[in-house]
Amino acid sequence: MALSGEPLRPGDASPDVLVIGGGVAGILASLDLARAGRSVCLVERAPRPGGQVARLDKIYPTDHCAFCPLWTDVRECLDHPLVTVMTGARLAAFRREGERWLAEILRTPPFIDEGLCIFCGRCVPVCGEEALSPLLDQAYPPIYRIDAGRCTECGACVSACPTGAIDFSRKDAAHRISAGEVLWATGFREGDLRPLPEYGYGTHPDIMTSLEFEEWTAESGPNGGKLLRKSDGGTPSRIAFIQCAGARDLRMFPYCSAVCCMHALKQAQWLKRRNGDLECTVYYTDLRAVGRDYYRYSKREPSGEAVRLIRGRPGLVFPLPGGGIAVKYEDTFRGDVRIERFDLVVLNGNLRPSLSPDREGDAPAVDREGFLDPAAGFGCGFAVEPGDIMDSAVQAAAAAMRILGRDKG
């Protein structure tokens, strides 16, 4: 498409910094830049900022919910005069132009106007396609969202909506952003585990990735924090967490995703806390609990919170005809091979940086593992190096400082 020095159209902007990705790293970096007096444009693909952290029910090692500290920062971002937040937007084209970067942002405005939706929910029953669903876990205040895939734009909801919040006439709009610097905070997405057949992902609903599992068991999730089998809604008694599924694996992700060990321990401990007789088993390669209080957290075994740790990477996971999931593994400490039956199997380690190696315009090169080369451009969070919330937050602040260091102000 045409990307040139045409005069700016309405919706275009020329901020000091363009931050791509509205996850925790992008949000924190934007705030640091804005507080230091830089104008920022924050582009986020999802309908609301928050990124992956907003999907987490609890965060280790303190077991708080991420919701309110994150919401506080999101709110500050949305309210900050120097920060422009573009949600539902993606980077369509990107290139260097003279001293600045020129980006074309394709923004798909939500069918439902956030400012007008009062969450009354009258749109839901009138929709024949069940295309409307509430967006309330990550969003504050909550709104409804229309699944464009299902929506036939029949207009039933439009007439049901008392505030006129729904409008199908709003179409994608292209905005041109001319920025002094660009910060890549594109975070991670989940990689598809089906190429690794031994984990049986996709063959049975009770074999989930850890993020799917987090949402499935979340306090705010479909079961209000209750743990159920996805297949038949029954109550599970044995759960297996398989670490490094896809990670530290030359066939898929050679790197260590850095967050999975603690993530699994957190989930296991919370499940135990809610249901003491549940049996949780974690299959690990190296138990990487390196942060503040992480090791203690991994050792924490108050009243019935004991989690069974087995060193070994299962080689085979398959649904059993009689129900349940079989896990075949070698306990490398005992040196014996065994098969155990579980109700649920949680796969950890399929996290991959969102930046795609196929470069858009002058987008910076990424290495073959998909991580941004720090020399090629400013980046923070999982886009640069796997890490948890704290690592991302530190990187975000450091990146902000480096950007400030660029221009001698």
């Binding site: 090692p61 708080h64 203690r296």
Partner: protein, 281 residues
Amino acid sequence: MKEIRDMSRELLERQAVDGVLGLRRGAYDIVEPHVFRDPGETSLLVTEPKWPLAKTAMKVLRDAPEGFRLAVVARGCDERALSELAKRNQVRDRNLRIIGVACTEARAKECLCDRPYPREIHGGTQEPGVDPFEDPRVRALLEGDSRERMNRWASLLRRCIKCYGCRNACPICVCVPCKLEDEIWVEKGSIPAEMLVFHLIRAFHLSDTCVACGACQEACPVFIPLLSLQLAMRRTLKEEYGYEPGMERDRRSPVLRNIFEEPGTRKSVPAWVSSGEHEHD
């Protein structure tokens, strides 16, 4: 008795202190608190009856000139009350000296005192304390199901004539103004006092301070057994935090500290309140 007189005289003679606060048996056998300054006078010093001296000591020190050194003839409860006052900056105890009197067994029983002696005993002999919860009178007050207790305490407190005697006699109550005189908390002019607020607010204000001297109930003209309101809270503090008001001069109430510094046994915390931070020492 004799030891106390001798020690007081001796302290005054060698001017180790500027005054000794104790009880004086004066003309017509009237006993009253008195600051002895003249060694000869100490022959009039007596240790009975029980007369809480902590607040008096506080006032004496407050009015005395800077650097005035006072010795107090103190029972265990007086000493503990003084250390609680000191924690609250009401007494500058570096100018304070305790002449410790141990109470008799009979007195201890009378007061339901579990520690009827000061840290250092200069007069009398150390008698074992009594466990107040073993005492039939206390039992009678604390036993029974909640409904029985509710009716029992309601009818007890309904006797209150709102004379504020309990508050005035308490060696720890020093606030001016006092919440009990604020109509937001306690309605003015209603007698019996809105007992639920009046006495429970009073009791709770002393929850982590009460040294169980019993002055409040001794001062009560209608015999409300006020001490027994405090006992359960004192026991909880001891069980949860190993804390006994008045015993450790330099330790603030655990209720004022965070959970890292004073975790307590956390028995009473529901499981889902728990958090990773309990791991902190």
